[in-house]
Symmetry: C2
Subunit: 355 residues, 2 copies
């Protein structure tokens, strides 16, 4: 098992990771405060830092986007959750697009390309229905603002090269933008706290937790409230293991995929079913490792009863893999139909999100 | 002899420095193109890179200011020269105030303090009469703009940590803003080229040449015209040796000093005169090491004949140290009177310089 911000490999033992990272589990008591939020109830967001201190008070959500390519459905799933959090808690949402980071880390990407990707990703996010009055986008290459820049310099003064090197494995061959970047990332995280006096709650995959840790140390030095976070598991790739990667187009479903492509991808996705129909009827499938089922569980099947029914039917062998996949495809395509319709209005709304 | 961007010590052999740094001397042929510009004619600006390629074409001047304290007269002298260059060549002048740099390098300075100092320094510079239509100020902490930020990230992608470490002696204990800073400095230097397609001519003390060298390498990688530079000697401190330092208040005359303080400082400045009047009359003084004479030569005595006359009279012993100093004080106070009058209008003009 290897989890770093740049690499996720092997069989992941989430319990072990949480302990190693020094985070806490979202326990049953805490979970009650997120009633109706399926990604918490179904343990996708399963760990946290200081969440208990933040919930019940005013806080802002920070959830960034590194625009290296078109978004895939797991990204959409995360931002859909952010939107649900906004609805439930009425909180301010800050979404920094780290186009600069992607540009710095990828030798093949030009500045103009990352700007375009950020724009494209933003339209996807807007289509999820965020409230423009309570949501702020910053594209580092497009509407960097003075507060954010100043904060990044303040953060950089509070982080030594040695600390960052140890945390992220820097080398002399890396460019100096890469070594500076954790300061901008900390600034993204602390921006609502610095600018609006709102403590930050970062919604993030557990592989990115190190940035939260670094920014908590920085917050302490700058005398700002330490950011909390909710940490999620990974949505597996369509191949069933490893993290989905926006740079491997066969590992994920893209928001730009056509219905035909989505169908094909789900059809060929890793399944928890048996080799033959006979065997499946006899032994039953394994929904817990079935990718199509995960899409239902974490993305497009809100209804608990219905989900439970499918789980049991698939596990007992009553429901075949093909049937499970057809149902999942149907649900995803329904979602995508609505999504694409809304996305057409995104372009017009975009300026409202850029303060 | 030690010359780095952070330290100047010992007896300076300028010829050796130019050769070691790989720059060129401003020769007699090139000097002719600067007729009337005393700081070139009198060899204060004595070395360069690519100056011959730039003069005669359209170019922009870049001359930055790191606002660590009130400015002193040697700073004013430099910006007075920049203004004369603007008048002679009609060129665009870009003055970046690296308040962020000063903040990052000085643990005692707060962000707000460096902002105030930058503002104060800017008023001094405006008082020299720059044309607001052809002069642009950027205060990194106040009006950082998107082009400059984007360019700094581009520059940072073109500089490895190893290169910067070797050039500037970075260590693990330094903050990550310090290791990033050369990218912002390169961006300052290349800004007119990136934004306005004007090649840059950097006017700078020879101790800062390493930044020009770094930014020339970056320019090459970004396919921008390499910046040229004119390199100056150092104005010695009032004590007669070492570089003036804005952080040692007895080594320099500040723009904020009163007439009384200026008088006192010149009176006690290092002199090339002899111990007694009798000895001085007999052996004569040494204007070449006399600090008061240098103020005349590089700052407040434009008239060549008059300067030459003083030089000879002092050298021959006809002019006493007290007389030389009194004359110098008179000229400086004349300058300061005018300067203070103009400075009152600076505040109002400032917004015109911030595009």
């Amino acid at each position: 098992m290897e989890i770093t911000p740049y690499k996720v490999e092997g069989e992941i033992n989430y319990n072990k990771v949480v302990k190693e990272f020094g985070a806490s589990f979202i326990d049953e008591r805490l979970k009650k405060k997120f009633k109706g939020l399926k990604l918490v109830e179904r343990d996708y967001f399963f760990a946290h830092r200081d969440l208990d201190k933040l919930v019940g008070k005013r806080f802002a959500i920070v959830s960034g986007r590194g625009p290296s390519a078109h978004m895939h459905l797991a990204h959409l799933m995360l931002f859909k959750f952010v939107k649900e959090m906004q609805d439930k808690f009425g909180c301010y949402v800050f979404i920094p697009f780290s186009d600069d980071e992607k540009f710095l880390f990828d030798n093949k990407l030009s500045l103009e390309e990352t700007k375009k990707l950020a724009h494209d990703n933003a339209l996807d996010i807007i289509a999820l229905g965020f409230d423009p009055k309570k949501t702020e986008f910053v594209f580092d290459f497009e509407n960097m603002n003075q507060d954010l820049y100043n904060l990044s310099i303040k953060c950089s003064k509070a982080m030594t090269y040695g600390t960052v090197k140890a945390a992220l494995g820097l080398t002399n061959e890396k460019n100096i933008g890469v070594s500076f970047y954790p300061a901008m990332q900390a600034a993204h995280i602390l921006y609502p706290t610095y600018k609006y006096k709102l403590p930050s709650l970062v919604l993030i995959g557990i592989d990115q937790d190190v940035f939260v840790k670094l920014s908590r140390d920085v917050a302490y030095k700058l005398k700002l409230t330490k950011p909390g976070c909710m940490l999620s598991k990974f949505m597996p790739s369509l191949k069933g293991s490893g993290k989905m990667s926006a740079s491997d187009e066969f590992s994920a479903i893209y928001t730009s995929d056509s219905d035909e492509v989505i169908k094909k991808k789900i059809k060929s996705a890793f399944s928890g079913g048996q080799e033959t129909i006979e065997e499946h009827r006899k032994k039953g499938g394994n929904p817990d490792i079935d990718v199509a089922f995960m899409y239902l569980k974490y993305f497009v099947q809100e209804n608990d009863k219905k989900l439970d029914e499918i789980y049991k039917k698939y596990k007992s062998g009553k429901m075949l893999t093909g049937e499970l996949k057809d149902y999942t495809i149907k649900r995803i395509l329904e979602f995508m139909k609505e999504f694409r319709k809304n996305r057409k209005k995104s372009e017009k709304l975009l300026p409202k999100f850029m303060k």
